[in-house]
Point group: C2
Chain length 337, copies 2
Amino acid sequence: MSRVKLTDVAKLAGVSTKTVSNVVHNYQHVTPQMRSRVQEAIDLLGYKPNLTARRLVTGRTGMIALAFPETNHPYFSMIAAAIVNAAEDRGYRVLIEQTDSKVESEQAVLRDREAGLVDGVIFQPSRVTSLQISQLQRDTPLVLLGEAAIPLTVDHVMIDNVVAAKVATKHLIDLGCRRIAFLGAVDGDQGGATVRRLNGYQEALSEAGIVEDSELVLKVAYFAPEDAKESLVKAIRSGTKIDGILCRDDRFAVGALQALRQLGLESPEQVKVVGWDNSELSQYSNPSLTSIAPDMLELAKTAIGLLVDRIEGHKGVGRHRIVPFGLKIRESTAPKS
Amino acid sequence: MSRVKLTDVAKLAGVSTKTVSNVVHNYQHVTPQMRSRVQEAIDLLGYKPNLTARRLVTGRTGMIALAFPETNHPYFSMIAAAIVNAAEDRGYRVLIEQTDSKVESEQAVLRDREAGLVDGVIFQPSRVTSLQISQLQRDTPLVLLGEAAIPLTVDHVMIDNVVAAKVATKHLIDLGCRRIAFLGAVDGDQGGATVRRLNGYQEALSEAGIVEDSELVLKVAYFAPEDAKESLVKAIRSGTKIDGILCRDDRFAVGALQALRQLGLESPEQVKVVGWDNSELSQYSNPSLTSIAPDMLELAKTAIGLLVDRIEGHKGVGRHRIVPFGLKIRESTAPKS
DNA sequence: CTGAAAGCGCTAACAG
DNA sequence: CTGTTAGCGCTTTCAG
């Protein structure tokens, strides 16, 4: 906490606080000699403005909160990095909030836990429903990420999961796969992401004239690679034939790779695998993983853009933005070189 | 920004602001009927205290900044998660600051860029030197992480890198390795971490009576897996025999694994590999990686503890804390099961 | 146990 | 172009 304040500088320079404020804020209409005199006093005293006081009067904090399930997750740490950068470009700083996917924490984010702390919130829900979100009235601007809940009334940014899943599935089909598994549906995950990806998967199959087999839609106990691995091992052991796998995310894909290894199956030769998120995990696994790659930069820029609009007073209905994605092809669907 | 303020509540409840403040803060000496009357008004109006105003008068923000090179890095995202949790336990929230390992950004963190914004700063330097840190006088409490710079005057938390490197190296020696490489020394990295790890590696070798071979200390261009891979490939191609590798971090270890694969060498059979950080990368690689596992919980708890001490007024010389680590043994140094 | 009043440090009308 | 002054919303002595 800086001890020296605006009035101290004003006193030393023999001017009013307004003048000091003017030079601190780089206002144009200040005579050069005045400016340099004041600047001298500032440097001499080592004056630093008290941000809190400034905020109280301006009403702006210059901070936004980023709330998501967990920091230590390949996808979310990618998001965090991108958002922090995008926010910086717009002159904002980022407060990180972990919800641990707990309903109470998510609701705390939604109701204005941050009131007066941040100018706006970017939130990737996981448990809370669209209804709950739209019912809670809040005065801090909010932008939603992901596909778990998409209330029409709130600004929202995501990639088109159905299309992405179709692209990924089609990639497997084009490579000759005919027994493509979806890994996987998580118990109690009513979030929209998995469902959308599953839909895309099914659409791609049906468009290719491949008949669906419900055995190929694997259930997974929870979001850990171990669970995915277990599920896949069980399926294959029980006789389900699989030559391609579309995974819900890279963690599941890594679990799939482990399962294949344990079963003595080669990837990509015997089973081709596609992950999702294009996280470090997919880049550095063995084999490296083909993965759906959301355009994180665009995602972050768009989200921050929408939020800043709102902060600056934009009113109106929820805006919904789709950002592009790519399919990053790696060893798990390509012959080894 | 909440529109309704303390005075509104006071007016509605027909009491003074002090009384409202008392119930908001759960002070003991308030008659139950008073309390419930005020609470009613609060609920009715949907009053939420303005944090900024509170701060201005208390001088405390309830926030700490966590500054480190990059959010999207397996080790730092682990740290972030741990710190966020530890901070929460002590009633603080965390502002994330990315320095991108740039000297200017690091210096900005050091001089009180955050003055009045946060109560304290936890900082993992990478470029800035001990001297620079101790020279800059600052009034916001600071706790340093890592081994890059360790000025005696500042609180500091780390694991004992020399000992950890010795343990890891000894593990390889015990497994029968005699040609153990260190991967690697990064150009222009005057940070202490690598040097300390290298020292521990050398000590372990010498204690085991293994004569050092400078060819085995590999240079790496930068901190990416690709660079580590390239370095290792080159070394082995040029005829250097290697049967074990101690890697500076998990990213390098992943690069090592890629190199071995490219060269047709099996791990752990032909070359055993030890990583560092125990990040997700080591857990899910193939083979999974034995890795030095710093006790992140303890690290975070200790750092937050020291910082909170300072915030609460602790004066005195820099305190230096060593937190424990383990060696998590995985496939890369164990026979496959 | 509760009320009145004095600021926290800064900004921004409004005058001059 | 610069000075005066009234708050931003809250906490907190100090009386009552």
